[in-house]
């Protein structure tokens, strides 16, 4: 069974149809990059996968959960599906450690000592062990984003979603975050990521999907797609250096 199965999904905001029949399959352990122009519906698609947006029609299944708007089922799903946002969204009133331990403790009843160990493990994974007691405000953007990734990892998710996690970062901080993601990919995490980092999509993602005007315009093996764009839109997008 695929880790993510999206079938003919339609989504509108009022009169504006943002997703016009999107179908995507992500196999377990696969890394899939989602690229496309601003406004093409990438974030919306990602947000539909963990139920932050409700779809109008179609079907989404992720990590064995069917996405609907039943709050209880959504919470079960979200324990298995991590999401990392462009704007980090750490909780500013909690320390790094507390940010990470909160959900395991209160939604999965992990005992405090064990949660603390878990937090230290994931922090080590993103290379920020020494920041356990810092507040988010005292971290750089790149560090905050790595903490956000660690916070998701502490849920021990089966699938991770990333929405342009490096777009808000200065170029010199982008690398450290991408490195963490690359390591995750190598460790076999199932990942669906929206990105403007074409090199990263080409080199790390096995599959790249190009979205255009709310549709999957083109998709295939990353190397292939970037080397031989099949549509003028994709060609345009890639050759424009797309940032």
């Amino acid at each position: 069974m695929p880790a993510v199965l999206i079938e003919n999904v339609h989504k509108s905001f009022g009169d504006l149809e943002v997703l016009k029949g999107v179908s995507v399959t992500v196999e377990s352990g696969q890394v899939v990059a989602l690229i496309g122009r601003s406004g093409s519906g990438k974030s919306t698609l990602l947000r539909c996968i963990n139920g932050l947006e409700a779809i109008n029609s179609g079907r989404i299944e992720v990590a064995g959960h069917v996405v609907d708007q039943d709050q209880k089922r959504l919470r079960e799903l979200r324990k298995d599906v991590g999401i990392v946002f462009q704007s980090y969204n750490l909780f500013p009133h909690l320390t790094v450690g507390q940010n990470i331990m909160l959900s395991p403790r209160i939604t999965q009843n992990v005992p405090t000592a064990q949660a603390e160990k878990l937090a230290k493990d994931v922090l080590a994974q993103v290379g920020l062990s020494e920041k356990f007691d810092s507040y988010p405000d005292n971290l750089s953007g790149g560090q905050q984003q790595r903490v956000a990734i660690a916070r998701s990892l502490a849920m021990q998710p089966k699938v991770m979603l990333f929405d342009e996690v490096t777009s808000a970062l200065d170029p010199e901080l982008t690398g450290e975050v991408l490195l963490v993601m690359e390591k995750l990919a190598k460790d076999g995490m199932t990942m669906l990521l929206v990105t403007h980092e074409m090199a990263f999509a080409r080199n790390v993602a096995s599959t790249t999907i190009f979205m255009h005007q709310g549709k999957i315009w083109e998709s295939g093996a990353s190397k292939e797609v970037f080397a031989n764009p099949q549509t003028p839109e994709m060609l345009n997008f890639v050759s424009a250096g797309a940032k």
Binding site: F85, S87, L90, I106, T107, D137, S152
Partner: protein, 217 residues
Amino acid sequence: MTTFGWPEAYFILRGASWTIALTVIAFVIGGLIGGVFAIMRLSRSKLLRRIAAGYILVIQSIPVLMVLFMSYYGLSAAGIELPPFLAASASLAIYASAYLAEIWRGSIESVPRQQWEASASLALTTPQQYRYIILPQAIRISLPPTVGFLVQLVKNTSIVQVVGFVDLMRAGMLVNNATYQAFQIFTLVGAIYFAICFPLSRLSRHLEKVMNASRSH
């Protein structure tokens, strides 16, 4: 006819302590009611939102004096004779609840939407989101306007003397009736109100500055 001296000043100071007690009680009870209305105002249910909005609008659009008379005479029409202190506390609590509800709703709403999304994405329930993520941040945001409102509340306690409760204001009026030295007496009464309110006003402004400073870095 007596003249205004130490016993009278002491009597007025005792009234002042009742003014403070009244403020605290009205704030605590009003805060509890206001908290409920703030959450209702933000609930998913349209009906609850409407009820809360209606309550807040009505209370904010009538004089505190009318809230006082309505609770005082309304209850006695229903056969319940409230002692003045309770009637005063109840009406001031109702008054405070509407304003606090509105202040706190605003504070909760000014916690960024992303904090809701991030915590929802971590599988928190709505009560958990409020408890661990939203309220701790909202409370910080609400501190300056809440302290600012306390000043309004202290000042508004002055009208409850009309139901016979001897607060700072009524103490002053009673002394005035005995001594006819209104100028000195109301200067003293005003000075005491000022001594209570001014530090609160400054605190509110100070908190606001601290908050703005921490937000901009």
